[in-house]
């Protein structure tokens, strides 16, 4: 059956879950072709990889719309740099040549806010060790846009491309830290329900963390993906489906901070369904596991790294979650996570 896309695009189609994949597959990938030997758009990986001599040129692009623009732990500027740096890193491309940054601003937007965004963007570049080398600016009339929209693209080189579709049975699944921090902080703010507590985005550039892991174990890493929109569930589902494997998750082993867990209970939102902006899911060969964990935990961004599951040869795309009491399927989120009353 053709994937379902509604007559008019709803917000769910942009939320990173099943609805968004349906939209991309049935409209945007229609007729799309890739250069020979390249990992192109149809791969729906974190970025594209084009052969260049004996190396790979990796490219990625992402647009950023977030409400509110400033949130605990970060802002749209930091998000725009980290998102693109992390997408490159997930392809194994940590040798970053440069980034582009386009910005579209709504008429009437405060200059002070723009300066704040720009300062944060620059700070994130310095932290990640990357440079914005070109950009673009547009202003639209009031009401034609809500505040500000950013787009960044990145170009990097690597010797070996790491894909998201190459998990093998027996691989261990590692997450580089706590899950659900960014998404739950934003969901709590957006629900406007006055939740107060230590909720903050985890937005951070993973370049040096991933470089350390790849330097240490090389092909011991079989696949990577960053669990952004749609959360860990969506990223794992994609990895499993594309790799033709199934996954067994150890629920109690998934690191989740207390305030995130509490907010999840309060709003009825699954922590595995919301975005992370400074985490990676890594498929690791069993023999490399110990090294990977040691390298991750020695890095400030990997302190809470944990093994959360194993790759099995069951039904492709199926994720079985062991809750500690019993097993169940873990489903892909449908659309935007919203608080529920039942």
């Amino acid at each position: 059956m053709k994937p379902f896309v509604p007559e008019r695009i709803s917000l769910a189609s942009g939320a990173g879950g099943r609805a968004m994949r349906n939209l991309v597959e049935s409209i945007f990938l229609n007729g799309v072709t890739s250069p020979p030997g390249a990992v192109g758009a149809d791969a729906m990986d974190d970025g594209a990889a084009i052969p260049l001599g004996n190396q790979w040129l990796v490219m990625t692009t992402d647009s950023y719309v977030v409400k509110p623009l400033f949130f605990p732990g970060g802002d749209i500027g930091r998000l725009a740099i980290c998102g693109t740096v992390n997408d490159l890193a997930m392809m194994g491309a940590t040798n970053v040549l440069g980034l582009t940054c386009g910005i579209i601003i709504e008429e009437g937007f405060a200059r002070s806010d723009l300066e704040r965004i720009q300062a944060s963007l620059q700070a994130a570049c310095a932290e990640a060790g990357v440079h914005v080398v070109t950009g673009d600016t547009k202003v639209m009339a009031r009401g034609e846009l809500d505040g500000v929209v950013l787009n960044t693209a990145g170009v990097a080189l690597c010797e070996r491309v790491v894909r998201d579709c190459t998990l093998q049975p027996g691989d261990r699944l590692v997450v580089t830290g706590t899950v659900g921090d960014h998404g739950m902080a934003i969901a709590a703010l957006r629900a406007d329900v006055g939740i107060e507590g230590d909720l903050r985005s985890d937005v951070a550039p993973l370049r040096s963390l991933i470089a350390a892991v790849l330097n240490a174990v090389g092909e011991g890493v079989t696949a990577m993906k960053d669990p952004t929109r749609g959360g860990v569930a969506s990223a794992l589902f994609e990895m499993a489906q594309k790799s033709g494997v199934s996954l067994l998750l150890d629920g109690p082993a998934v690191p989740i901070r207390h305030p995130v867990r509490a907010t999840a209970e309060l709003l009825g939102i699954e922590p595995l369904h919301v975005a992370n902006e400074g985490k990676a899911l890594i498929g690791v060969r069993p023999e490399a596991l110990e090294t990977v964990l040691a390298v991750l935990r020695a890095h400030p961004l990997g302190r809470d790294a944990a093994v959360i599951g194993v790759v099995t040869s069951g039904r492709p795309g199926e994720i079985v979650l062991d809750t500690g009491m019993g097993k169940r399927l873990l489903h892909e989120p449908e659309g935007e996570p919203l608080p529920r009353i039942c």
């Binding site: 059956m1 994937p3 379902f4 509604p6 007559e7 008019r8 695009i9 709803s10 917000l11 769910a12 099943r18 609805a19 349906n22 629900a191 406007d192 329900v193 209970e265 709003l267 009825g268 079985v320 979650l321 062991d322 809750t323 500690g324 009491m325 019993g326 097993k327 169940r328 399927l329 489903h331 449908e334 919203l338 608080p339 529920r340 009353i341 039942c342």
Partner: protein, 375 residues
């Protein structure tokens, strides 16, 4: 200690395993297959979310009842909301309601087509919205009595003049009667919804027990609550006891919450109405009393349902078996639409929409197929 760890205590794995062993013993004593029904979507959510189905004995069929207020909200009720939005009225509602299909699409469709809909977590936010605005704000109120009392509480106090309520609230006790009276009902006991009983009190089930000669257990929603509730229910079945057993004493008393009940019946009156898929449920719908007509969207606006007549209800609706599923007669896998024509992204029946809907839960978490195999 009812401390932060309280929730953990009710999720203790070892205790869950011990309770499940005990449940198996009791069911073995009964010595034949039996079916019981829970009347609360949150029970099903918890059973699915914690993977408890695998802990239940094969001879015990725990059937999902009409326990989701979103699922049983009928098309005409959704249509009223959609019609108001199409008339240009700004609507606030719980996220749960957004994607429930009506005759002419869902509220989410109406929003994508330009309608003004705000998602709120609490009616208090909807009132705030009205306070900050000069526009008319209609709160589309759904939920069982637990939620209805919060609507009642707000309407009992002062509200802004531009605020009104479109009530689709439901009252659960009469629905249990409908199920028990269904010819051929194979349920030998009911697990009643703990949170609703917090309001009504467990005493509300006594006439039911007397009439139908079936035990009712009031149970909470943590894994241990559910397993303990099932043990108590099966023990009562084994012993032939017909009574109400309160396994949720930390939240439920015999008389319930008087303050909340007073507010509920001051503001609402029960009327009969169709529950989606089920039947006409006498006294199953909660509507605002005449004394509250000034805040009743049905009085304040002429809801132009005729504007939706050009939309024929989706033809697939005829093949939908939500009603049989909600009544516990069939399971989602018995439906020809399940998982192919009816999915969470393109739901045909309401049971696929709500996160508490039977079909949605089975689709997302895996259910139990005919051979009793889980997942």
């Amino acid at each position: 200690m009812p401390d932060a760890t309280e929730r953990l205590e009710f999720r203790n794995r070892d205790q869950a395993l011990r309770l499940s062993e005990r449940l198996a013993q009791v069911v073995a004593r009964i010595g034949r297959p039996l079916a019981v029904m829970h009347v609360c979507g949150t029970h099903e959510q918890a059973i699915a979310r914690f993977g408890l189905r695998g802990l239940l004995p094969a001879d015990l069929d725990v059937v999902m009842g009409p326990g989701c207020p979103v699922c049983v909200t009928d098309q005409p009720e959704v249509d009223e909301g959609v019609a108001l939005v199409r008339q240009g009225v700004r609507l606030a509602t719980y996220a749960d309601m957004l994607r429930v299909p009506g005759t002419a699409g869902s509220l989410a469709d109406a929003r994508a087509a330009g309608g003004k809909i705000d998602v709120v977590y609490s009616i208090v936010q909807a009132v705030e919205l009205a306070r900050r605005s000069t526009e008319e704000i209609v709160f589309f109120a759904t939920g069982f009595e637990t939620t209805a009392v919060t609507t009642a509480a707000v309407l009992s106090g002062p509200v802004p003049p531009n605020f009104s309520v479109l009530s689709a609230h439901k009252y659960i006790p009469p629905a249990m009667e409908i199920i028990a009276e269904t010819p051929g009902c194979r349920m030998e006991g009911f697990l009643a919804a703990g949170h609703a009983a917090t309001i009504t009190g467990w005493g509300v089930f006594e006439p039911f027990v007397a009439r139908h000669k079936l035990p009712v257990v009031v149970a909470g929603f943590e894994p241990l609550d559910i397993l303990a509730g099932l043990i108590a229910l099966c023990e009562a079945i084994l012993a032939g006891r017909q009574e109400v057993i309160n396994c949720f004493p930390r939240c439920v008393s015999r008389d319930g919450n008087r303050v909340a009940l007073d507010a509920l019946w001051r503001v609402f009156r029960p009327i009969g109405g169709r529950w989606r898929g089920i039947a006409h449920v006498p006294d199953g719908n909660l509507r605002l009393r005449d004394t509250f007509s000034h805040v009743d969207a049905r009085s304040r606006f002429t809801i132009d349902l005729a504007s939706l007549w050009e939309f024929a209800p989706p033809s697939l609706t005829a093949a939908c078996i939500c009603g049989d599923i909600l009544a516990g007669r069939l399971t989602p896998v018995d439906c020809a639409l399940f998982g192919n024509r009816c999915t969470p992204s393109d739901p045909v029946g309401a049971c696929m929409v709500s996160t508490e809907g039977s079909c949605r839960i089975w689709h997302d978490y895996g259910g139990r197929n005919r051979s009793g195999e889980t997942l």
